[in-house]
């Protein structure tokens, strides 16, 4: 199943974004050719998070020993400690499915079926709302959100068993002069939802 793990704007030029889905840490980065990579957030060599690494535009370079992994294939291309030796071809990081749609970055731990967020037509311009992290299980939050009319399309990203993120989009996007007002409105709305849930769950 597809879940949103980030917003498009979380992947600016040469950034590496630290995400988490169902307990699995992910490193998400956009190469200069536009391709979005979603990998296990761990260098194969010594286990350092790749989200603290460097996005060179074509490769992700680990911060610890400079191992480089290629855009798209996640294959290790260079091990600086042994510069004269090509890394064995079998060294490749674990890749997760990725889709970019409606201003959100989507992924899945299993091979997913269909298109993500398919309730909307691709052509619609969307306004992506700020992700609201909630310290409560996704099921609880989904249940609470189902009971209110928001006017936004809302997805819940299950971060792990005790945490989730409310990711909303407004489609079509409001006119530019009222976008800031819309963002404020939804920020208040979903923050209040979060506060209620955390208070009830005793996790605030």
């Amino acid at each position: 199943m597809w879940y949103p793990i980030a917003a498009t704007q979380d992947l600016p030029f040469r950034h590496v974004y630290h995400a988490k889905l169902l307990g699995q840490e992910l490193a998400a980065w956009r190469a200069d050719d536009g391709f979005v990579n979603i990998w296990e957030n761990r260098c194969l060599h010594r286990g350092v998070r790749l989200s603290i690494g460097v996005n060179t535009g074509t490769e992700l370079k680990c911060q610890y020993h400079g191992w480089r992994y290629a855009n798209r294939t996640a294959g290790c291309t260079y091990i600086p400690a042994h510069p004269d030796r090509a890394p064995p071809r079998v060294i490749a990081n674990r890749i997760f499915p990725c889709a970019e749609r409606h201003g959100l970055i989507w992924s899945s731990l299993e091979p997913p079926a269909g298109e993500p967020g398919s309730i909307l037509a691709d052509a619609v311009e969307t306004l992506v709302l700020r992700g609201i992290a909630v310290h409560a299980p996704a099921a609880l939050v989904t249940h609470a959100l189902a009971k209110i009319q928001t006017g936004a399309v809302v997805f819940v990203q299950p971060v792990d068993t005790a945490n989730c993120v409310i990711r909303g989009i407004v489609a079509p996007a409001p006119a530019p002069d009222i976008r800031m007002r819309a963002l404020r409105h939804y920020n208040h709305l979903f923050s209040a939802v979060r506060d209620d849930i955390e208070r009830a769950a005793g996790t605030e």
Binding site: H45, G47, V48, R49, I52, Q63, Y64, H65, G66, I79
Partner: protein
């Protein structure tokens, strides 16, 4: 098994592997303790307290909120208070250079790290990260190659030794004023301690000694104590400390972003390369000694 160790294992509410409990562990730098002041810290999940008396001798005891619960063996060595929760060995490993009269001996830093003690030790043994983590100080691209070196696990001395380690360093110490290929010897005489001998920038025939004494507070929480025993007549104490603090301050975020936090001893758990010979030997040695604190043991 000696009676003392038996008693301890029966009365303690917390489990440690005997391999870790029966070791001397550093818990504080003497220079950081004011006269008569009681310090408190955690060792292997247990609350301990310590002080240095007017006569210069240390005392260490198990403590909790109610206060004293019983004395522990202790000793002062290399400027630190060491204690043991089980049955301590007669001696601590030797660093003979420490006694040389022209050495500058000091604790450079005692700093908390949210990782296991073995991860901190392995990082200390690693040359491959110098150009990336200590860029411009202990290494610089394109000088990234880790040249072949020798490693042995000495049965007689019960330690891991890595020799003939060479690496190009832009600024190998506070006293260095230019880049140089530096010679290293690494010695691991204790599961949570490592000693580095590196070419002195002042006298090429002698070696600076830098040691890391890792205090395993919890399985995944460590205090790293860094000992300097070096040749440098000119730099003041704060310059020498700042150099080591800068270097360790660069390692700390790496260690805290390394997962799992406990060191996996199964050789297939991570992906070692030839440059990691020292780390491979260290992991094997820990497994052979039966150390389980701060590590993920090899599955039976």
């Amino acid at each position: 098994m000696p009676i003392a160790a038996n008693l301890w294992i029966m009365t303690s509410s917390i489990y440690h592997d005997p391999a870790s409990a029966n070791l001397w562990h550093p818990i504080a730098a003497c220079a950081e303790l004011r006269d008569g002041e009681v310090g408190r810290t955690t060792l292997l999940d247990e609350a301990t307290a310590y002080r240095i008396g007017a006569d210069g001798t240390a005392s260490v005891w198990r403590s909790d909120a109610e206060g004293a619960k019983g004395g522990l063996p202790c000793r002062i060595q290399y400027g630190y208070i060491w204690t043991c929760l089980g049955d301590p060995p007669a001696d601590l490993f030797e660093i003979v250079e420490y006694a040389e009269p022209d050495r500058r001996n000091m604790n450079a830093i005692s700093i908390g790290v949210h990782s296991s003690a073995p991860r901190a030790i392995e990082n200390f043994l690693d040359m491959g990260h110098f150009p990336f983590v200590h860029k411009g100080i202990l290494g610089a691209e394109p000088h990234t190659e880790v040249k072949d070196y020798d490693v042995e696990i000495s049965v007689e001395r019960d330690e891991v030794l890595a020799t003939r380690c060479r690496f190009f360093q832009p600024q190998s110490s506070a006293a260095a004023n230019q880049g140089a290929e530096v010679d290293y010897i690494y010695r691991i005489p204790h599961p949570y301690c490592a000693v580095l001998y590196k070419t002195s920038a002042i006298d090429a025939s002698r070696r600076d000694v830098i040691a890391i004494f890792a205090q395993p507070m919890e399985q995944e929480r460590t205090r790293a104590h860094l000992l300097l025993s070096i040749l440098d007549e000119h730099s003041d104490d704060s310059t020498l400390r700042r150099f080591q603090q800068t270097v360790f301050g660069q390692d700390k975020p790496i260690l805290e972003n390394q997962f799992p936090r406990r060191l996996p001893l199964d050789p297939r758990a991570e992906l070692p390369i030839r440059a990691d010979k020292a780390s491979i030997a260290y992991r094997r040695w820990l497994a052979r000694k039966g150390v389980t604190y701060g590590v993920i043991p090899v599955a039976a």
